[in-house]
């Protein structure tokens, strides 16, 4: 665990603190390399590539778009609700959302 934290501080994008989870989705769903994935997300969100790793800017972008924040207290999107917003904004298919829609009769 200590090692994971050290890597995150030295080299990691920061996950939900920033746009790390969003960029990761492009690597998985479209096999994009890091530069291409960052540019895709930055263009969709209207921020620069460097700003993607800035928790100050990205926490505002995430809150504005309902992408999920680190301290999700009352009256903010959480979990699956956020994934709907992420899929729509980034024009992505998210596997569990498709399963959810099919099972809930929303597909």
């Amino acid at each position: 665990m200590g090692m994971a934290v050290a890597h995150a501080q030295a080299s990691g994008m920061g996950g939900m603190r920033t746009a790390g989870d969003l960029v990761a989705r492009l690597q998985l769903s479209k096999k994009m390399r890091i530069g291409q994935a960052k540019k895709y997300v930055a263009d969709k969100l209207g921020v620069s590539v460097v700003e993607l790793s800035d928790p100050i800017i990205m926490s505002e972008v995430r809150a504005d778009n309902g992408f999920g924040i680190m301290m999700p207290l009352g009256k903010v999107p959480k979990g699956l609700e956020c994934k709907f917003n992420i899929a729509r904004k980034l024009d992505l298919d998210i596997n569990c959302l498709n399963r959810f829609k099919a099972r809930a009769g929303l597909a």
Partner: protein
């Protein structure tokens, strides 16, 4: 004058002069060139490493804008390993909301595909619960682990007992049966987890049982991506070259025994892998500068040749991280920075 403080491959502290530092870096590169058939690092890259190890700061990091994506093998297992009896769904939420993880991975404490078959419905249910309350992309992961397929743990004769008796043909036949059985298990579990909603499937520690282990993984990836073209599969390797336990196992006309990261990557890419995780094992009797230079020389050509994201394995004992349960932050942060910036990695 010995004024550079670094560490050995086992994590113990070490002082070196700049001359000794340069000698270790050059020796590490030479070892990679000799064994792996890769090009040497250039002078700029050597100077980068010298300056990195001369720095006095306890923690260093990549330049702003160079940050990469982190994937985690056996994530929930690492919470349990600390005797923290946290529910796995909560464990994953802790990863993303306290540790800032870019991705998460649900896994079972018995981290092998074979062992998951009797409990797959429980695992799928837990995955669905975890996916509904978290935000980051979530893998389901386990190891091919062909070691579990031999008697008395599994159904097949043990090639490690047959081969010393000179029963080469019988040993190889056993490996062939183990491969077919492992492919069936990996595909069964991966399909179940994909249909439960996973964002990706992780095949971790591939090649731990040598070329049959790698062969089973490649075949499983081919089957899975043929049926589910959108399935994202990460393949993390076990070692820097594939052990020839069978010795005559081929895939796509390529002999698997002895393959180094770049050739491993090419087969993984062709099979349909979305994220490839190369490994270089840490030598604990050499210094970290030696290990890091050797690791970069072996993995840089792999990253350059890739068309898919490359997440180098940087856990304890691999990727120049010392072989210890308590990797010091001074070394982890240095090897993390250098691997990302010199190998131009997409993630760790």
């Amino acid at each position: 004058m010995s004024n550079i403080v670094t560490r050995m491959g086992d994590g113990s502290m070490l002082e070196m002069s700049e001359k000794e530092l340069r000698e270790d870096i050059e020796a590490g590169i030479e070892e990679a060139v000799d064994k792996g058939g890769v090009p040497p690092l250039n002078q700029d890259e050597i100077e980068y490493l010298v300056e990195l190890f001369k720095r006095k700061e306890r923690i260093v990091g990549v330049e702003m804008g160079n940050e990469v994506i982190l994937t985690y093998d056996a994530a929930t297992l690492k919470i349990k390993r600390h005797s923290l009896f946290e529910d796995r769904v909560n464990s994953l939420a802790i990863y993303e909301r306290l540790l800032g993880a870019d991705t998460t991975e649900l896994c079972h404490v018995d981290y092998s595909y074979k062992m998951l078959k009797p409990i797959v419905s429980y695992e799928a249910g837990t995955l669905e619960q975890a996916l509904s309350v978290t935000h980051a992309p979530m893998f389901y992961g386990a190891m091919p682990n062909l070691g579990l397929y031999t008697q008395p743990d599994g159904p097949f004769p043990n090639p490690m007992e047959l081969l010393p008796q000179g029963k080469i043909k019988e040993g190889r036949a056993a490996y062939d049966e183990m491969v077919a059985s492992a492919v069936e298990d990996i595909v069964f579990i991966a399909e179940s987890m994909w249909e439960a909603g996973a964002d990706g499937i992780n095949l971790d520690t591939v090649g731990a049982s040598g070329d049959p282990d790698f062969k089973a993984s490649l075949l499983a990836v081919e089957k899975l991506t043929a049926k589910y073209p959108d399935m994202a599969i990460e393949m993390g390797m076990a070692g820097e070259f594939v052990l020839g336990m069978h010795g005559e196992m081929y895939h796509e006309g390529q002999r698997l025994a002895g393959l180094y990261p770049t050739e491993q990557l090419k087969l993984a890419e062709k099979a349909g892998v979305a994220v490839f995780g190369p490994v270089v094992n840490t030598n604990n009797t050499e210094s970290t500068p030696w290990n890091l230079a050797r690791t970069i020389a072996l993995i840089k050509p792999c990253s350059e040749a890739a068309t898919i994201p490359v997440h180098a394995n940087m856990g304890m004992g691999v990727g120049a991280v010392p072989v210890t349960d308590y990797p010091p932050v001074d070394i982890v942060s240095r090897v993390s920075k250098a691997m990302v910036e010199l190998c131009r990695l997409d993630g760790l």
